[in-house]
């Protein structure tokens, strides 16, 4: 599937490039759409602030107005679903990778090639789809063999560690494996009211993505097997979930109520020695205004499990909404193309965003300023696109995982019973959706 997407997008970029390379300019391409307003939902996170700061240049050059409405992550899906169902104003869809199946199957978003075929004059010859990390492009923007969105706000899970605390305890580097983190670093760093590790596990998407899934994959587990039946009772999945339970001995109490803010804050206050968090929180941890440990922050790829390093993968792409009228679709495409372009990637990075362009990380000097870059680039080489299944049924399934995942951690239900319960309910959702009767392809 990856190869097909790549071939298709490369061909498109190449065909768009022929003969147009020399004379294409954003200003001229956008001229017919000057005065158009496009509506989009943004999150209140650093990558979005970065683009907002860069936006005046785009608006001035194109005459296109980008109307942004900010929402916290937890509201963004609901807001967009309601807008698309009601035929609302949104011209651009902001798509978390787990929403893409939903958006694509409902035809709320247009495949990229369809937009490019419709408006060939606005396709930047320098778009260079090959420059996106293939894993990120496929996972964030691709569904069922087609590319819909371009990666915009991109994350990989990373291990952030407090170098000073580790050195004080006699370690000269972060743990390489999860086992080492638990058995060696855990006991040595959990003392005097400080903890070795914190795994954000609040009952929302954080529980499913940051906690539950994070422990499945490195241990060889997964949500589903090849036939789309639950794989949560497999020895590998069980080992991962059991490991999470044991690791809680080295985490603060009440970790089931911790979201990103609490976790990043505990690390930044020096109360926790290590956390696995999204790359986008790097700026918060190294800014002396928000962190007491700014000088001690070290970044490494997530530890490996028996099945290798399978770091958490998450992030957002932007796609053109099908409900937009013709001028809005063209204007929306121009904005998406501009915001995710290789030319703007450097500035986006410097302003706090995390671009998915390989070329943006080529300069070795950048790794000194942004210490997360080497770990990030390494993580994007071997992630799992279906880290969380991306089909339309995920919103239903994540609710089940959130409930029983949290209850497992609290000891209200055993690992095995919890996994069985999630599996039964998950299969019921998939049954209703028609995966077992052959009505839907087994795509995730």
């Amino acid at each position: 599937m990856k190869l097909r997407i790549l071939a298709c997008t490369t061909a498109l970029a190449a065909s768009a490039a022929t003969g147009a390379m020399a004379e294409w300019s954003l200003k001229e391409a956008a001229a017919p759409y000057a005065g158009t307003t496009v509506d989009v939902i943004f999150l209140t996170r650093p990558g979005y602030d970065a683009i907002k700061a860069m936006l005046p240049a785009f608006e001035e050059e194109t005459g296109i107005k980008v109307n942004i409405t900010d929402h916290p992550y937890e509201n963004a899906l609901g807001e967009q679903v309601r807008d698309f169902v009601a035929g609302g104003d949104l011209d651009i869809a902001l798509i978390d990778l787990v929403w893409i199946g939903n958006f694509a199957e409902n035809e709320w978003i247009l495949p990229l090639e369809e937009v490019q075929a419709k408006f060939p004059d606005i396709v930047d010859p320098a778009l260079d789809m090959d420059d996106f990390f293939p894993l990120v492009l496929n996972a964030f923007g691709g569904w069922n063999g087609k590319i819909y969105g371009l990666p915009f706000d991109n994350y990989s899970g990373l291990l952030f560690y407090n170098r000073c605390m580790l050195e004080e305890a006699g370690f000269d580097g972060p743990p390489e494996t999860w086992q080492e983190l638990k058995d060696v670093y855990g006991p040595a760093l959990t003392k005097d009211g400080k903890y070795a590790f914190a795994l954000q596990s609040k009952r929302n998407e954080t529980q499913s993505a940051d906690s539950f899934a994070r422990m499945l994959w490195p241990f060889g587990g997964s949500f589903l097997d090849a036939d789309f039946r639950s794989n949560l009772l497999s020895p590998e999945s069980q080992a991962g979930l059991q490991f999470r339970q044991e690791l809680m001995a080295y985490m603060p109490d009440g970790i089931v109520a911790w979201d990103h803010a609490e976790t990043v804050n505990a690390f930044a206050q020096g109360d926790v020695a290590m956390i696995t968090e999204w790359s986008s929180f790097y700026t918060t941890m190294v800014d002396p205004a928000t962190s007491r440990v700014a000088d001690c922050v070290g970044v490494a790829p997530e530890p490996a499990g028996p099945a290798g390093r399978k770091p958490a993968l998450g992030g957002f792409s932007l796609a053109v909404a099908s409900q937009a009228d013709e001028a809005e679709q063209a204007a929306a495409y121009l904005f998406i193309q501009w915001a995710t372009s290789a030319a703007n990637a450097r500035e986006y990075l410097e302003r706090g965003g995390v671009p998915a362009r390989q070329s943006a990380y080529a300069d070795p000097a950048l790794a000194e300023r942004f210490r997360f870059i080497p770990a990030l680039v390494e993580s994007w080489q071997e992630g799992v696109p279906e880290f969380r299944p991306r089909f339309a049924e995920w919103p239903e399934i994540t609710e089940i995982v959130q409930e029983f995942g949290t209850r497992m951690m609290m000891g209200e239900i055993s690992i095995e019973d919890g996994a069985r319960e999630i599996g039964t309910r998950m299969e019921a959702v998939l049954e209703r959706a028609g995966y077992y009767s052959g009505d839907k392809p087994l795509a995730q």
Binding site: L77, G78, V81, R82, V85, N102, N106, K202, R203, N204, D253, G254, I255, V256, A257, W258, A266, D271, A392, P395, E396, E399, E403, T406, R407, M410, E412
Partner: protein, 287 residues
């Protein structure tokens, strides 16, 4: 007789309220009933179809629904008696003669919790009960995990509900106490100095209409309690504070299964109506 009010006038007075009620209350209710009889998922609108009572069957056999209902009634059963006891105590103290200025100030300050938005109460709770930085742990000199522990989180919800709604109960009961004719109360006080006897036989009959109103309003409020819990614990940890309204919101707006959520809401409505009728039949008597 010409003194009768004309039909037109009657319609002009009643009409707007009836129309408003129909548009705001009745139409959405009928739509919810219609939705509850269909498979109606916002992300699967192409598959909308009539499924009869299937959603109701799912709700009635769903353990999560009854657990959430149980939690909601547990909240009602713990917070309402506390509110009534504390409210009555405050009302009786304020009803005593003397200290006019202090009592006026107290009455005014009683309005403050009620005037605080539910969502803000939840956010306040988050800050005050934070394990590390919260003022509550600082005052207690303890390191109690309030939000991350199932029982503590539930106790915290009870605390905030009592904090916010005891003043309401107090003010309603105080109004009831002022209804007691002065000479009756005075005569009673000459007969006995036992405050319980006076409360039970003289004041309580006048408090009953207020008490029934409080029971009905607080029951309805608790059944639809959402904002405070959502901002404070979001139903967690696990599902230890997932009240019925949070469950309905989760099914309707996070899973997007509006059909099932509507069926849950309709059943909740039926339970509320039955309870309200029950309260009126059992407790309410004209003085």
């Amino acid at each position: 007789m010409r003194g009768q009010v004309s039909r037109k006038t009657i319609l002009a007075f009643i009409g707007p309220s009836v129309i408003a009620l129909a548009v705001i209350g009745i139409a959405p209710l009928l739509y919810a009933v219609w939705t509850s009889l269909h498979f109606y998922n916002l992300t699967k609108l192409r598959q909308v179809r009539f499924i009869g009572l299937e959603n109701y069957q799912t709700v009635l056999t769903d353990a999560a629904f009854w657990q959430a209902m149980g939690r909601t009634f547990l909240l009602l059963a713990t917070s309402l008696p506390l509110q009534l006891a504390l409210g009555l105590g405050i009302a009786l103290v304020l009803h005593r003669p003397g200290l006019t200025l202090v009592k006026t100030l107290t009455r005014l300050s009683l309005v403050l919790p009620m005037a605080t938005t539910y969502a803000v109460v939840g956010l306040l709770g988050q800050v005050m009960f934070n394990q590390q930085f919260g003022v509550v742990n600082q005052l207690l000199g303890q390191n109690i995990n309030w939000i991350g522990n199932a029982s503590n989180a539930f106790a915290m919800i009870v605390f905030w509900d009592v904090w916010q709604w005891t003043p309401f109960v107090a003010l309603v009961l105080l109004a009831g106490l002022t209804m007691v004719p002065g000479e009756v109360e005075e005569a009673a006080r000459l007969e006995t100095s036992n405050w319980w006897t006076i409360l039970r036989h003289v004041q309580l009959p006048f408090l009953m209409p207020g008490l029934v109103a409080v029971l009905i309003l607080r029951t309805a409020d608790t059944l639809k309690l959402f904002d405070m819990v959502f901002t404070l614990t979001r139903g967690g940890p696990g599902n230890s504070t997932e009240m019925i309204s949070l469950l309905i919101q989760r099914v309707g707006f996070r899973v997007f299964d509006q059909g099932l959520a509507s069926a849950q809401a309709v059943i909740l409505l039926i339970i509320t109506i039955v309870l309200a009728r029950l309260y009126i039949r059992v407790f309410y008597k004209e003085v």
